[in-house]
């Protein structure tokens, strides 16, 4: 099993946290399939099941040493969604079971139930994704996919969004700093901030587009697709137990998704 524990390695991807936990040492494909299994479970479980999945996922993240980061991201992402869905489905969407709450305010228990189901389902899927990206370095995913004979183009397609998060985020900060240093006020009213958006977004998008071209040229000049498969010198270690674990998780994921379809 491999692990990235050096401080430098953590600087190349925004969400990855170096560590030596079981998931850090696991082969990236095992972590990837574990994530897919959790997502497939979240897709079919009832609300109570997805809630348990979230709690278990968060507990697992703490056991793996990435708990604070996973929890923070989960809360930041899910809280606005939770509020929006509860308000829309519980109070606004017209349903036959509306019950008076306070004064003219009415709510729908089935609407709230539906909102909870959607939120916990998305929350469980997000928890699984966060555990994966905080414990698995994108570079290791690339190596692992290359080792398995996946074509370089497909590997790059899977891993590049994760590899790009950090430079993209750094650039966004640099653009914000550059515009603030030219007198752009990002601290006042919502209207002023909204008006400031073009000054922040246009350079970010322009640079991202020019980066795409640049990256494509670099990859081509390095004969990225010259060989159908790439040889990996320092592939992440794998073992028979993990191979079998992955097979079991794949079968479980398929069964989880398939059985409810067959039963309906």
């Amino acid at each position: 099993m491999s692990s990235r524990s050096g401080p430098q390695s953590g600087q190349t991807a925004l969400l990855f946290l170096p560590g030596d936990s079981l998931l850090h040492r696991a082969n990236p494909l095992t972590s990837l399939i574990f994530m897919l299994w959790m997502i497939s479970a979240a897709a079919v479980l009832p609300t109570i099941g997805t809630t348990i999945l979230i709690v278990a996922g968060v507990a697992l993240s703490f056991a793996m040493g990435v708990g604070p980061r996973v929890t923070k991201r989960l809360v930041i992402t899910m809280l606005p969604l939770l509020v929006a869905l509860l308000v829309v489905h519980g109070f606004l969407v017209s349903r036959p079971d509306f019950i008076p709450l306070v004064g003219p305010l009415t709510y729908s228990p089935t609407g709230l139930e539906y909102a909870a189901q959607v939120v916990t389902r998305i929350g469980a899927m997000l928890t699984a994704s966060l555990i994966f990206v905080t414990t698995t370095h994108p570079g290791d995913i690339l190596k692992s996919l290359d080792q398995r004979g996946v074509s370089p183009g497909v590997s790059y397609l899977i891993a590049s969004p994760l590899l790009l998060i950090e430079p993209f985020s750094e650039r966004a900060k640099a653009i914000r700093d550059a515009q603030r240093a030219r007198g752009l006020d990002l601290t006042s009213t919502f209207k002023a901030r909204f008006k400031a958006l073009p000054a922040l977004l246009i350079p970010l998008i322009t640079l991202a587009l020019s980066d795409l071209d640049h990256r494509a040229s670099i990859l081509n000049s390095r004969a990225f697709r010259a060989q159908k498969h790439r040889t990996v010198i320092d592939a992440p270690p794998d073992d028979r137990f993990q191979v079998w674990l992955r097979r079991v998780l794949i079968v479980l994921a398929i069964a989880q998704l398939g059985i409810p379809l067959l039963w309906r």
Binding site: R171, A174, I175, D177, A178, Q179, R180, A181, R182, G183, L184, D185, L186, T187, P198, A199, I202, P203, T206, L207, S210
Partner: protein, 268 residues
Amino acid sequence: MLDVASVDFAYPGGNPVLSDIAFSVRRGEVLAIVGRNGAGKSTLLRLLNGLRQPASGTVTVDGLNTADTPVHVLAHHIGTVFQAPEQQIFNAKVHDEIAFGPRQQGLTGAALEARIAEVLGRIGLADAAQLHPLDLDAAARRLVALGSVLAMKPPVLLLDEPQRGLDANAMARLEAIVAEEAEAGTCVILVCHDMDFVARRASRVLALAQGRIAADLPTLDFFTSDELTRKAGVEVPDPVELARFLGLPPVLTPSALAAKWLADHRSA
């Protein structure tokens, strides 16, 4: 004009980046901040324009404490040209890009147009006013970035690696602008790796080594000290080396070297 008093800085959870930094810069002075990569030059620049706050100590710009003044307000007193001009360009015309800063200051109408025309003339892009900045070459884009800051007429000008990516013409224009700004009383601070440029334009050198001030001297005194240039990890400009080799008094520029050599030969 700019005063840095006993400043320490560290990024959250990191080791100290800057320790016990103290210096002042007067009106009309051109200060070059030099040092190896990682010496803390760019961090110091961000402390000066208020993008970072010191852990201890104070930075005062034009009478304003950076800790108490929002960055967008400080920007009227201290203009910064960053290393990558693409990070700030967003308007579809060079004219509008130059106008961005003065507009933030509330300048409008004829006064704004006069300011833009003046700056376009200074950066040599009067004919390119209606072009898209990203259609210009890299050197011209850098000049647009410089122009957009000059248009705000800040009393303190920070230039982060201003010579990077400039061709000979653009470099000559940059040097002329630095000289004009200093002449007009602007306090110019350069963060720079090009020691020939520093030798030609800076009146004083602040050398950083491992987050501390290794030297704060007039340019000639700095470059004639082997110990200090070695400590700061910078190359000594060719005219200084050549003057030493020829046994002439120290000089900073090729023209000064030629003058000394001629004077020496005539007297001989």
